[in-house]
C-alpha cells in the first residue's frame, strides 16, 4: 500500500514543471554545441596563470576601489605591522611619466608596504608584477590579487613573451610597474641574484628604473610563516637609473642589483659611508656570504642601522 502510494506521488511529480529537467532538455543555442566527429576541437583558453585577464582591474571602478583599499585598510595594516620609515623619495622629484620600481623581496608584506610608500603621482597608476603560478593559480586568487594590488601575471617558471608584452604595453600606456627582480621571496633573509626583467623592460620602453631596498619585512612575515609579527621596516628609494648607450639588459640588471646592494648598505649604516664603499666596490653583496647556513644567519644579525641622533648638540663652553 505504501509503495503504491509513493509511485503515485512520483508520477505526479514528473508531470509538474521542473527547472532541472528544463535545463537538461535545453538544446543549442541554449546548450553548448556538440563537436562533430573528425573535427579537432579548439584548445581551451587558459584563464589562470599567465593567461589571466586583468584588463578589468585597470578600469575606473576597480582603480577607485583599489585606491580606497590602499589608502584605507592596507595603509593601516602596514602601519600597524611595519611602522615603516621611508627614505629617498626626494630622489624622484625631477621625474615624470611611468617608472619601473625594482625592489628586493623578503615577504608578502613587501607589496602593501611599497604600494603605500611609492609617492604620488605613481602610487595609484601602478601595476605589480606577481608570480603567475602563485598569485594567479586560481581565478579567485587572481581576481583578488588584481583588484587589491593591481597585480599582473609574470611567468617565472618558463620563458614566454606574454608577460613581457603585457608589461611593456602597460608601461607604454603610462602605467608604472613594481617588480621584484629576484623572482620570489628570499628563502633565508639574504637576497637572490637579480633577473633581467626590469632591465629588459627599461631598455625596451625607455623608462628609468628606480632601485628600492626593503629592509626588515623578513621579520614580519618571512617565507614559510603564516602569521605576521610586528617589526620595523625601512624603504629606501635609490637614484633613478637608465640604461647607458648600447647597454644590454643583463649588464643593466647587474647595475640595478649593485644599486640595491648599495641601498642596503645605506639603510644599515649611513649614506656617506655607503657611497664610499660603493665607489670602492666594497658594498658587500645582496645575496650574502657564500658560507654555511648558520654563518649566513649570523652575518644577517650584524646589519643594523646606526642611530641618527646627533652625538653633540651643544658647543663646549
Amino acid at each position: 500500500m505504501g509503495m503504491a502510494h509513493d509511485l503515485g506521488l512520483m508520477r505526479v511529480a514528473r508531470r509538474l514543471p521542473s527547472p532541472v529537467r528544463a535545463l537538461r532538455a535545453r538544446s543549442f543555442p541554449l546548450r553548448a554545441p556538440t563537436v562533430p566527429r573528425g573535427v579537432e576541437p579548439l584548445e581551451e583558453l587558459d584563464r589562470t596563470g599567465a593567461g589571466f585577464d586583468t584588463d578589468w582591474s585597470r578600469r575606473w571602478g576597480a582603480r577607485m576601489c583599489r585606491a580606497a583599499i590602499v589608502e584605507g585598510p592596507m595603509r593601516v595594516m602596514v602601519q600597524a605591522l611595519a611602522s615603516p620609515s621611508r627614505r629617498g623619495a626626494d630622489r624622484l622629484a625631477d621625474l615624470e611619466g611611468p617608472l619601473i620600481f625594482a625592489a628586493n623581496h623578503h615577504s608578502h608584506i613587501d607589496t602593501p608596504l611599497l604600494l603605500t610608500s611609492i609617492p604620488e603621482p605613481w602610487r595609484h597608476k601602478i601595476v605589480v608584477g606577481a608570480a603567475a603560478d602563485y598569485f594567479f593559480g586560481t581565478r579567485v586568487a587572481g581576481a583578488t590579487a588584481a583588484l587589491v594590488m593591481g597585480a599582473i601575471p609574470i611567468e617565472r617558471a618558463r620563458v614566454g613573451r606574454r608577460s613581457a608584452d603585457l608589461a611593456a604595453a602597460l608601461i607604454d600606456d603610462g602605467w608604472s610597474l613594481l617588480i621584484y627582480p629576484e623572482g620570489g621571496r628570499s628563502p633565508d633573509g639574504w637576497g637572490q641574484p637579480f633577473r633581467g626583467g626590469a632591465a629588459y623592460l627599461s631598455v625596451r620602453c625607455g623608462v628609468p628604473v628606480v632601485p628600492i631596498h626593503v629592509g626588515g619585512t623578513g621579520s614580519i612575515l618571512r617565507k614559510g610563516r603564516t602569521m605576521p609579527q610586528p617589526a620595523e621596516a625601512t624603504v629606501t628609494f635609490g637614484t633613478p637609473m637608465r640604461p647607458e648607450d648600447g647597454e644590454r639588459a643583463p649588464r643593466f640588471a647587474s647595475r640595478i642589483e649593485d644599486a640595491v646592494t648599495a641601498l642596503a648598505d645605506e639603510a644599515s649604516t649611513d649614506w656617506y659611508s655607503a657611497r664610499k664603499r660603493a665607489h670602492a666596490s666594497a658594498s658587500g653583496t645582496l645575496t650574502g656570504p657564500e658560507v654555511g647556513v648558520w654563518r649566513r644567519q649570523w652575518a644577517l644579525s650584524g646589519r643594523r642601522r646606526t642611530p641618527s641622533t646627533r652625538a653633540r648638540r651643544w658647543p663646549d663652553l
Binding site: A93, R310, P315
Partner: protein
C-alpha cells in the same frame, strides 16, 4: 591653466600706469593682504617678471658645473684621500620662503659628497655659514641638506653650525689694505679645500660675501656691517656700487692669499615663490588676470586669515614651502662664478623703470631673512622695508631724495624671545632714546656685541647675536638718510612711532600725510613685491 602658463614664454616685468580701469592692487600686509586703489593718472605699479623656466635636469646641470668649473680644476681633481674637506653652506635665511624638498643645498652637497666618496675622502665637515644669525635647528638642517646627509654626518658631530664666538674656533687670516680684519672659522680655514654652496635669491648674496661674512665673527664683520658702509652703498643690491661688497671683496683678497683654496658653487632660483597652482598662486598673478576661481580663493583666504589669531596665521604661512626651480648653477673660482650668478639673478629680477617717484608704496609680506619660523618684529619690518625693498634698485633709488616711503604691515609690538632677545632690549630701551643709526652705533653697538648673556644665548640657544638688531637698523640707514618721511599703514601706532615713523590707518590717510612732505598730487610708485623684482631706474 597652470600648464598653459608654464608652456608659454615667461613675460618680463611690467610698469603699469594706473588709470581708472585699473583694478585694486594687491598689497602684502604681514600674514594678510590688502587690496588698494591707487590714484589714477599719477600712479604706477612695478610688477616682477614671471618665473623663468627651471633647469630641465638640475642634477645633470650640477654635475656638469662641478666637472667643468670656471677658472678651476674639476672638483674630482681637487679631492684626494687623507685630505681635510669642509663644505660650508648658506643658512636658514635663504631662500625665502624656504623651498620645497629637495632643497638646492641638498642636491649640490650630495653630488659634492659623492665625488668626495669616490676619492675616498674621510675627513669631511659640513658647516652652516650663519655668521651672527641664529643656529639652525636639527629639523632645519635636515630640511636643507636632506635625510641622507644629515644622518651620515650629524651623529658624528661633523655637521654643525658656525660659532663666531668660539674662542678656539676662529682664526685671523690677516688685514686688508684698508686695515680691515679678516677672520674665518678655524675648521674651514685649516681645510685643504673649502667648498661653499650658495643659493642666490637676490643680487646681494654670494661672491666673497659667502665666506668673508658667513664664516667670520664680529671683529671682522664690523668693518662692513656699519652705518658708513650702508650709507655709501647705492645700493647694496648692486655690487659694483656697493661699499658692503667692496669691503667683502677686499677681505676676499686676504682669504685668497692666506686662506684655504675655495671651490665656490652658486645657484639661482626663479620667481616661482607661490606656485603655478595651489592656494597662493593668485599672489603671483597680475590683478586683471585673476579668474573667478582666483578671486574666490583670495576672498576665502582673506576671510580665513581674518578669523584666525595672528599666531595661527603665522603658523599657516610658516608652513608654506616655495616651489622654486633652479635656473642656473655655476662652480669654480669665486669671482667668475659670481659674475655669472649675478647675471642670472638680474635676468630674473631686473625691471626697467623710467625716472624716480615722490612716494614709494610697498606691502611687506610675512617673511624676511631673519624671521624664518619666527616672529616678524618691528625692527625686522623696518629692515625689510627700508633695507631690502628700498635697496632693490640699480642706478638711482626708486623714490627721489626727500620723498616718502609708505609701507603696509601690522608691525605688532611682539618679539620671539628665544630668537631675538637682544632685539627686545634694542627696541624697548635704545630706540626710546634715539633712532639715529650713527648714534646707536657709536654709543651702544660694542656693549650689545660683547654682552655675555647675548653671547651665551647665541652660542647655546637659537638666538641671533647681540649685535644683530644694530645691523638690521643699519640696513635701513641709506633709506633713513634719503627719505623725507616713512609712513606705516595698518601698523601698531606705538610700535611705529617708537621707530620714528608715522602710523596711518589707511593708504588714503598715508597719501594725505605724504603730501605734507612732497606736495599735493605726488607721483606714486608701488613695488609689487614679492615675487622679487629689482628696479633698473634710468
Amino acid at each position: 591653466m597652470a600648464a598653459e602658463r608654464r608652456q608659454r614664454a615667461p613675460r618680463p616685468g611690467l610698469v603699469l600706469d594706473v588709470d581708472r580701469s585699473t583694478p585694486p592692487i594687491l598689497f602684502h600686509h604681514g600674514e594678510g593682504f590688502r587690496l588698494e586703489r591707487l590714484p589714477a593718472g599719477r600712479s604706477r605699479v612695478i610688477y616682477p617678471a614671471e618665473p623663468l623656466p627651471g633647469l630641465v635636469d638640475p642634477e645633470a646641470a650640477i654635475r656638469d658645473a662641478l666637472l667643468n668649473p670656471l677658472d678651476s680644476d674639476p672638483l674630482p681633481a681637487l679631492l684626494r684621500p687623507g685630505m681635510k674637506l669642509t663644505i660650508a653652506f648658506d643658512d636658514i635665511s635663504l631662500p625665502l620662503p624656504p623651498m620645497r624638498r629637495p632643497d638646492i643645498r641638498q642636491r649640490v652637497i650630495e653630488q659634492v659628497l659623492d665625488m668626495a666618496a669616490a676619492a675616498g675622502v674621510d675627513d669631511v665637515h659640513l658647516i652652516a655659514a650663519l655668521a651672527l644669525h641664529r643656529r639652525m635647528t636639527d629639523d632645519e638642517l635636515r630640511h636643507a641638506l636632506g635625510e641622507r646627509v644629515f644622518d651620515a654626518f650629524a651623529p658624528q658631530g661633523a655637521l654643525y653650525n658656525h660659532d663666531a664666538e668660539d674662542p678656539d674656533g676662529m682664526v685671523v687670516l690677516g688685514r686688508t689694505d684698508h686695515d680691515e680684519l679678516v677672520t674665518m672659522n678655524r675648521r674651514a680655514a685649516e681645510s685643504d679645500l673649502l667648498v661653499y654652496v650658495n643659493i642666490n635669491l637676490v643680487a646681494m648674496d654670494g661672491g666673497w660675501k659667502s665666506t668673508a661674512t658667513g664664516l667670520a665673527d664680529y671683529p671682522a664683520l664690523r668693518h662692513h656691517h656699519n652705518v658708513h658702509t650702508m650709507q655709501h652703498s647705492r645700493s647694496f643690491m648692486d655690487r659694483p656700487r656697493s661699499e658692503l661688497h667692496r669691503s667683502n671683496w677686499r677681505q676676499g683678497e686676504v682669504i685668497k692669499a692666506n686662506g684655504p683654496p675655495i671651490f665656490q658653487i652658486e645657484t639661482t632660483v626663479n620667481n616661482n615663490t607661490f606656485g603655478w597652482d595651489g592656494p597662493l598662486a593668485v599672489l603671483q598673478k597680475r590683478e586683471w588676470e585673476w579668474t573667478a576661481r582666483d578671486r574666490a580663493s583670495f576672498m576665502a583666504m582673506q576671510a580665513g586669515l581674518k578669523a584666525m589669531p595672528p599666531a595661527a596665521c603665522r603658523g599657516v604661512f610658516g608652513r608654506w614651502l616655495a616651489p622654486y626651480e633652479m635656473t642656473s648653477v655655476q662652480a669654480g673660482a669665486v669671482e667668475p662664478v659670481h659674475e655669472s650668478t649675478t647675471a642670472n639673478v638680474l635676468a630674473q629680477h631686473l625691471v626697467p623703470v623710467q625716472g624716480q617717484t615722490d612716494v614709494l608704496t610697498m606691502g611687506l609680506p610675512y617673511i624676511c631673512p631673519y624671521n624664518v619660523n619666527s616672529v616678524m618684529n618691528p625692527i625686522l619690518v623696518m629692515c625689510l622695508g627700508l633695507g631690502y625693498f628700498f635697496n632693490l634698485y640699480r642706478g638711482r633709488p626708486l623714490v627721489r631724495e626727500g620723498g616718502v616711503v609708505i609701507m603696509g604691515h601690522p608691525t605688532r609690538w611682539e618679539f620671539h624671545p628665544a630668537h631675538h632677545p637682544s632685539y627686545i632690549d634694542f627696541f624697548e630701551q635704545l630706540l626710546a632714546s634715539t633712532t639715529d643709526p650713527a648714534e646707536l652705533e657709536a654709543k651702544y653697538e660694542e656693549q650689545f656685541a660683547t654682552d655675555e648673556w647675548y653671547v651665551h644665548l647665541y652660542r647655546t640657544g637659537y638666538a641671533y647675536h647681540g649685535v644683530h638688531p644694530f645691523y638690521m637698523w643699519y640696513w635701513g640707514a641709506h633709506a633713513l638718510q634719503w627719505l623725507g618721511r616713512v609712513i606705516v599703514v595698518g601698523g601698531d601706532p606705538r610700535a611705529v612711532r617708537r621707530m620714528g615713523f608715522q602710523p596711518a590707518s589707511t593708504l588714503s590717510d598715508a597719501l594725505e600725510m605724504a603730501s605734507d612732505v612732497v606736495g599735493p598730487s605726488p607721483t606714486i610708485t608701488h613695488l609689487h613685491n614679492p615675487p622679487i623684482l629689482m628696479a633698473d631706474v634710468e
